[in-house]
């Protein structure tokens, strides 16, 4: 399998008191033609990792090869093969959409027509609009247009949908799928679990500057998410349940308690709920709400890191 990207023992530390270790030894192999997701909570080291892969930040240690060429020796050969969107680039307000894309097109010796790039991101109707007139979702699509106009082999998207409404997010997903369907390689970061599940062939979960899990979304869910999840909250005033009591509930494999919210990883949800209700009845406790769902990446993540991806989780 052809590798688009290969990183070995990548580390990045920032000087200071104390020294900040943003990335602590990451190995990555990203295959040509796949959509690869870097997942993790804020401050986990996603963006630092991405910027090292993009050649924008010099690693403290480790090696990176892009299409078998090293950044250290072949930066001028690598750069034209990449399309990059950064977190929060604000383009010139007074330029039109087309002018902005044209500017970026001029940096590449070969590529596609600016108009075509705008069509790919469904922004052709806005081509004469000023940048300042665009909505958040349109701005993100413009950012992608500037990244694909040089017809890159490898596209980097840093949190492409953060802060967008659900509709805009879905439009953006379509753009990413379209690009992937052309056989291009995509590396994206996100802290939306559903996004990674929807778009990515493989995912690396990063926490505290390290990869803590790597695989297809399905693998990760199967391996780390459990089969089914039961979540419940006790009515207010009830004495909390402790972990050992919950582990006795039928078919429960694992327990995670987050303030008043309880999560049970179970094999047979019906059996487990019946058993849980009995436990509560016997101990004179009352359940205020209960829900059950198939395990998601979110559950896998909580299982792996013991914390939620985002404080305001679940969109």
């Amino acid at each position: 399998m052809n590798l688009a990207l290969c990183a070995r023992s990548l580390t990045k530390s920032y000087k200071g008191k104390p020294v900040v270790h943003a990335v602590r030894g990451i190995d990555l192999d990203i295959r040509s033609g796949e959509c690869f997701g870097l997942l993790g909570p804020n401050g986990a080291g996603k963006t630092t990792t991405l910027e090292m892969l993009e050649g924008l930040t010099e690693p403290t240690d480790g090696s990176i090869e892009v299409f078998s060429q090293s950044w250290k020796t072949h930066a001028n050969q690598i750069r034209p093969m990449l399309g990059i969107t950064l977190q929060e680039t604000r383009f010139m307000d007074d330029l039109s959409v087309l002018e902005t894309v044209r500017l970026f097109r001029s940096f590449y010796a070969t590529g596609i027509e600016p108009q075509e790039a705008l069509e790919t991101v469904s922004l052709q109707e806005k081509c004469n609009a000023k940048v300042e007139q665009l909505s958040g979702g349109q701005l993100q699509r413009l950012a992608i247009a500037t990244a694909i106009v040089g017809d890159p082999k490898l596209l980097f998207l840093d949190e492409p949908t953060t802060g967008l409404d659900p509709q805009s997010r879905r439009e953006l997903w379509d753009v990413v799928r379209k690009f992937r369907a052309m056989g291009k390689t995509i590396v994206l970061t996100t802290h939306y679990m559903d996004e990674a599940e929807q778009l990515c062939d493989r995912i690396a979960i990063i926490d505290y500057g390290k990869i803590i899990a790597l695989g297809t979304p399905k693998d990760l869910i199967d391996k780390h998410g459990g089969q089914q999840i039961i979540e419940f909250v006790l009515a207010s005033g009830n004495t909390p349940l402790d972990e050992s009591a919950l582990l006795e509930v039928a078919s429960v494999q694992q327990v995670h308690i987050d303030a008043e919210r309880y999560r049970l990883w179970v094999v047979e949800p019906i059996k487990a709920i019946q058993s849980l209700l009995r436990v509560c009845e016997n101990s004179k406790r009352e359940i205020a709400e209960v829900s059950s769902h198939r395990a998601t990446l979110e559950d896998a993540f909580i299982n792996l890191t013991g914390r939620q991806l985002r404080e305001d989780s679940q969109s």
Partner: protein, 373 residues
């Protein structure tokens, strides 16, 4: 890999893979595109256009009229020296003149300055009896010539009773009017503020927007970007300088006594050094507030020491060497030397060297330490 999750990635609305297109298309060179960006961003901000072009002209207009020769009022003639009352008696009744006598305390430099700044048209030095009167006018000013002619006419008329002779003298060694002195100063000021604000702000704004980082994430040559700043700024500067020169010529009759080519050479060298200075300040600054602070820190001393509104010669001799090493002072002096004294550029070796050294050094350091993010 045919899992349900994978299926989600190939919905019906996704277009089938298309062959990669790699073709040359008609896009301008990156340098030209970058310059165009500069021009577009500038002209689409009406306030920016006003402050760049309108403001210097308004300033000229205001200052020019404040020190304007009043054509409809009477011509001012000032008398000084021992015989001043005798001469005053002759001229007092002339309707075209507004005669004033100066006290003995007023020094030569006082009345010379008044003459230069257009506050008086003619100064008559009335020395001891027997010595000829000295009629001091300013060279090339119509009002001075008119006043001289009128005074001479009156003196002729008075000949039968008064045997005084006179000589006509012209004060010409420095700029004649204040406006003549002011225009090169305003031109220099414009190059200074254009270089510092125009270049520096653009760079800091792009850095704050994360656009600098985005640009170098694309295969943009850094040299092209820095050159586009220089070229873009120059296009505006040339128009600004032209606007000031044309305006000053038509409204105030200000001319360039030296070679226009030499004047433009000084504008280009001086302007470049100001742009380089602006770029140097902007290399690492991360906020607009810090940028304003830095620019003001540089601008204010230059305004004061730079001789825009009054000559820097007035500073004590001990400071003169330091002043001459300031690029802005070198530029103002050179512009004045060419416009007012008609000097050739070959006589301006030192100030041109000062400007060039500043320009080259600032640019080199700026490129070296420029922060793209």
């Amino acid at each position: 890999m045919n899992t349900p999750i994978r299926d989600l990635k190939s919905p019906a609305n996704v277009t089938p893979p298309s062959p990669t297109r790699r073709k040359k298309i008609n896009v301008l060179s990156p340098l030209l595109e970058l310059v165009l960006v500069r021009i577009r961003v500038f002209i689409r901000k009406p306030q920016a256009v006003f402050w760049t072009y309108g403001f210097p002209l308004l300033m000229l207009l205001a200052l020019g009229f404040a020190f304007r020769e009043g054509s409809e009022t009477k011509l001012e003639v000032e008398l000084i020296g021992a015989q001043r009352d005798t001469v005053a008696a002759i001229l007092q009744a002339v309707p075209e003149l507004n005669v004033a006598t100066l006290s003995d305390e007023s020094t030569d430099s006082d009345w010379k300055r008044r003459l230069q700044s257009g506050k008086t048209r003619l100064v008559v030095r009335c020395n001891e009896t027997g010595e000829p009167l000295q009629l001091w006018g300013s060279l090339g000013r119509a009002e001075s010539q008119l006043a001289t002619a009128i005074v001479e006419r009156e003196l002729w008329k008075a000949k039968p009773t008064n045997e005084t002779s006179w000589e006509v003298l012209k004060l010409s060694d420095e700029g004649d009017r204040y406006i003549d002195f002011l225009v090169p100063g305003i031109m220099a000021l414009n190059l200074l503020s254009g270089g510092l604000w125009g270049t520096g702000f653009m760079v800091v704004d792009m850095r704050i927007r994360g656009l600098l980082k985005r640009l170098i994430a694309a295969p943009m040559r850094r040299r092209d970007f820095l050159l586009s700043l220089l070229i873009g700024r120059f296009l505006f500067s040339i128009l600004e300088q032209l606007a000031i020169l044309v305006f000053a010529y038509f409204v105030f009759g200000v001319v360039c006594r030296g070679s226009m080519l030499h004047l433009w050479i000084v504008i280009v060298i001086g302007g470049s050094s100001m742009i380089a200075l602006g770029l140097l300040i902007a290399t690492r600054v991360k906020t607009m507030e810090a940028m304003s602070g830095w620019i003001n820190l540089l601008m204010i001393p230059m305004w004061i020491a730079g001789g825009v509104f009054f000559s820097a010669d007035r500073f004590p001799d001990s400071m003169q060497l330091i002043l001459k090493l300031i690029p802005f002072v070198a530029m103002t002096d050179s512009l004045r030397a060419i416009m007012l004294d008609g000097q050739s550029i070959s006589a301006l070796g030192f100030p041109i060297l000062v400007m060039s050294v500043w320009g080259v050094c600032c640019f080199a350091i700026a490129i070296k330490i420029f922060r793209w993010r």
